[in-house]
Amino acid sequence: MTTDTAPQIELDADQPGSIRLSGRWTLHTALQSAEVLRDLPEPLTRIDATGIDQLDSAGVLQLLRVAHRADLQPDALQFREDHQALVSTIEEVADDRPKKKRDLGVLAALERLGRSMHATGQNIVALASFLGESLVKGARLVKEPRRFRLTATVHQMEQVGLDAVPLVALLSYLVGAVIAFLGSTILRDFGAEIYVVELVSIAFLREFAVLLTAIVLAGRTASAFTAQIGAMKAREEIDAMRTLGLDPMDLLVLPRIVALLITLPLLTFIAMIAGLAGGITVGAFDLDIPPQMYIARMYDTMEVRNMLVGLSKAPVFALVIGLIGCLEGLKVEGTAQSVGERTTSSVVQAISLVIILDAFAALWFMQVGW
């Protein structure tokens, strides 16, 4: 910035308290002009701004404020003719925001805890009532099958189920192999490597296949549901549907939940097979258990009920994932940030709830002795 364009103040020798301004008084030079405005004559009686060659609203604001502080009459602040139009549109504004209170101490922490407890409580109520609404609307489908959206459901089944097959199979295979390795390192000390077969089979059939599948779908599908429905909500598409006499529950929620209810058990079955295959692979290459022997051992020791226990949890998890994904999507409000927040919340809730339910189910099945 050259000196001749910088904002400048000259004192008038004849009239004390009168100043002449020149240079540019714009947003770009705002800091410099604040600097030169710091040492003004006291008292200030007149500001001659006609020497300014460039002026914008930031400059006008600064000058108006100086004039206000010195309690000048309106005509004591003079501008060039062609700047007058700009000046007349500018009002003086001041930062009158209340000072922010800092939240510190035990009380603030308690308040936050209380608020989040309250929010969690409301969340649970919302989820329960959404479950109720879905069941009612689902029952209506039985009475009025014409409401069922077959195309949408099949489309969702493809996206939720078929497209997830490679991922679920690969992850289960690897986890199955890892369990076999871990088990063998301990069982080898007792010369009981053959028990790896039971370990992998029981772990996968009862717990891991369904849990892994549910976690993968909670991350992959719940987030997709929330984002899809949320974006539609934000763009008023859901409202448009309602005005057209279409029920978003029929159109958006039920096809997704039905698709999950059908595909999650199927994916769980695939995960079981893949996990067992992982165990067989490790057995064949690391533990000298040939596949024929491994499978024969499985036939001897396994019962169908292990698999049924695992599969029985799949529809429950499907319902949880579908309900949370759709409900969070419907909670979205107009903003882009809201879509992000809801998506995060839906994945976190779905994964947590799946694991919690699985833990309770494990206890229950053990007590019942299945």
């Binding site: 540019r24 947003l27 705002a30 800091l31 060659d53 460039q54 930031a58 903003t335």
Partner: protein, 279 residues
């Protein structure tokens, strides 16, 4: 940059132009825009003079928005030359592009406000980005100034865009476009979706601001009232070109089928009648 400085920017050296050419805010030559096999612009020329309000009209699909996006650098045209404020907007270096960004304000059709920020924060975004050296209090005060300038009540500054009506969102968008006191303003259908009273008030606001801040305005519109009320010149987009760029009185007389239909239809007669009555 203010109007004075803008007007003082010399034409690029070695360029032999008449004084009139040097006084252009936007100069488009030989612009070609294609989408696949569909050609939207073919060899399009456009001049926007400094300090004028240029209304850009044309039927739907004639590429008004594409033209604006090309000038703003949001779309790379297939061919052609675009100069904004004397700088090359197409092949220019990062410095030229920054210069253009700092000196243009854009009001998109629905405001395009950042939905997770309040109106005040929206207006402060360009200030915070381009004038980090200023204290936070100044950012706020300048934002408040622009919000009031755009005709919004002061308490609108703390509201989220979703809490505003369509007309208020446009005003908030205008406040953000004006945040840096840009000499060049782009408005994409500023009065679309407003009620007639609101639209007329918005027209007056644009005119007042243009006169006070000495703006050059590139205004896309379908609104005949806006054309008659505030535009100095009108550019008509048809047949993939700017078929005319002149004051309204001259445009009306042109013998082009689309122009004839547009300016001599029942709505145009009504708009013109109103203007002559109020004049």
């Amino acid at each position: 940059m203010t109007v004075d400085e803008l007007n003082a920017v010399p034409a690029p050296a070695g360029d032999e132009r008449s004084g009139d050419e040097a006084n252009l805010a936007i100069r488009v030559r030989g612009l070609v825009n294609r989408f696949g096999t569909q050609t939207v612009h073919e060899d399009l020329d456009l001049d926007v003079r400094r300090g004028e309000i240029l209304g850009v009209v044309g039927g739907s699909g004639t590429g008004k928005s594409v033209l604006m996006r090309s000038i703003l650098g949001l779309r790379t045209p297939d061919e052609g030359q675009i100069e904004v404020l004397g700088r090359d907007a197409r092949g220019g270096d990062a410095e030229s592009r920054l210069h253009i960004q700092r000196n243009t304000g854009v009001l998109f059709q629905d405001g395009a406000l950042f939905s997770s920020l309040t109106v005040g924060e929206n207006v402060q975004v360009p200030l915070k980005e381009h004038h980090r050296e200023l204290p936070e209090r100044w950012h706020y005060e300048l934002a408040l100034l622009k919000v009031k300038l755009a005709g919004l009540p002061a308490d609108a500054i703390n509201k989220l865009p979703s809490q505003l009506s369509g007309g208020m969102r446009k005003r908030a968008g205008l406040a953000r476009a004006l945040a840096l006191d840009p000499p060049l303003l782009f408005l994409d259908e500023p009065t679309a979706g407003l009620d007639p009273i609101g639209a007329a008030a918005f027209d007056r606001l644009i005119k007042t601001l243009q006169e006070a801040l000495g703006l050059t305005v590139f205004l896309i519109t379908h609104d005949l009232d806006t054309l008659y009320a505030i535009c100095d010149r009108v550019a008509v987009l048809a047949d993939r070109k700017v078929v005319a760029n002149a004051p309204l009185a001259e445009i009306e007389k042109l013998d082009h089928p689309w122009i004839q239909e547009y300016f001599h239809g029942p709505r145009a007669r009504a708009a013109r009648g109103e203007q002559t009555e109020s004049a």
